[in-house]
């Protein structure tokens, strides 16, 4: 029950405050509105005045501009006429000066080219002489180098040839001894082979001679002797 009065009071206070604020707003709005009307009126007046002033200004300006333009045209024509004259004079003067300049330049170039030619000839001769001297020196150097190298080569070749000769001789001697030894061995082997062959031939000849030299009866006798020998050796038992 205590709450209700507080709430009532609060609500009442808030309503009052809001009302006051609203009133203030309304009042300020009204004031602003009236101010706005006044300003609008002033603006309309100014616009009316302004719309009339520029026309007069424009007319004044136009008249002045025309005047200025005519003056400028006049001056321009004067300037143009002056400049045409000046142009002709300057052209003539320029042409004259150009001709003299051209002539001076031609003389200068001719002189310079002659001097250059002379200088080039002198330098060319100098270079030619220098090159000839350099070539002579180079040739001499080459000759002396070639001679010395050839001498060195000859000496080295001689030395190597002698060494190669010694080595070859040594190898030939060794090879010769080896071959001689092999030849002796081969000779011995062949002689031995010949001996063996002769031995075989003798053996075969002996066989043939003995067998051919035996008579038919002797053959029979030898067979009987063989049978006798076999019997003695008890082959038949």
């Amino acid at each position: 029950m205590l709450i209700d009065p507080i709430i009532f009071i609060f609500l009442t206070a808030s309503t009052a405050i809001l009302t006051v604020i609203l009133l203030a707003i309304v009042i300020s709005y009204a004031a602003n509105l009236s101010k706005f009307h006044r300003v609008q009126q002033i603006n309309f007046q100014l616009q009316a005045e302004l719309s009339q002033k520029p026309l007069r200004l424009l007319e004044d300006a136009h008249g002045k501009a025309l005047e200025i333009i005519s003056q400028a045209n006049k001056q321009a024509n004067e300037i143009l006429s002056n400049s045409e004259l000046y142009k002709q004079e300057s052209q003539a003067s320029l042409k004259e000066k150009m001709d003299s300049l051209e002539k001076n330049q031609q003389d200068a170039f001719h002189k310079a080219s002659q001097e250059l030619q002379e200088a080039y000839k002198i330098i060319l001769n100098q270079v030619k002489e220098e090159d000839i001297n350099t070539l002579k020196n180079i040739t001499k150097d080459i000759e002396s180098d070639a001679v010395s190298e050839f001498k060195e080569f000859t000496n080295a070749l001689e030395k190597e040839t002698i060494n190669a000769e010694k080595i070859a001789k040594k190898e030939i001697d060794e090879e010769y001894l080896l071959l001689k030894k092999e030849l002796d061995t081969y000779k011995q082997e062949q002689l031995q082979k010949v001996d063996e062959d002769i031995y075989s031939v003798l053996y075969r000849v002996s066989e043939l001679v003995l067998s051919e030299g035996i008579s038919f009866d002797h053959h029979k006798q030898l067979v009987i002797e063989a049978l006798d020998q076999a019997k003695k050796e008890q082959v038949f038992k």
């Binding site: 003995l210 002797h218 067979v223």
Partner: protein, 169 residues
Amino acid sequence: MDKAIDTILSLVKTKSEAGEVLFCLENFAGTIFLSKEKPPIAEYFSRLKQELADELIHTFTEKVSAETSRSEAESFLKQLQTALRNCKILQLTIAFHPDDETIALFSSWVKKEIANNILLDIQTDKTIGAGALIIIDGKYKDYSIRKKIAGVFQIQKDEILGLLSHAKQ
């Protein structure tokens, strides 16, 4: 052994002759007791040597006669065939081609000195020079002159080579 068989064996000298005899005996056995019209006995043994053929003819004429029975004759025939097949073979390699006389000589020696039932198988090989190579019952003996010469050359090889080197010098 029957004496007749012994006599026949003494006349069969070589292995080839024995083969011939057996062949003739086969023919003889095959026909003599079977066919009524039989050829003369001599015809069966005509391919054999005269002495042997005569002995066989004489023997079989006695055996296949009226006095002897067939079984006896057959028995004798079989005994003869068996005896021939059981003969030992003496392979004799000699250096010449023997004639009949020589074969007879060797055969008579063998039958006299060794046994009657040994047959010769004679081969010829000139390389042995002379003498003989004897093979019997798996035994081999070399009595050729080739062996003797080889022996001499082997024994006296150094001497012979010495003679050769003297000759070369």
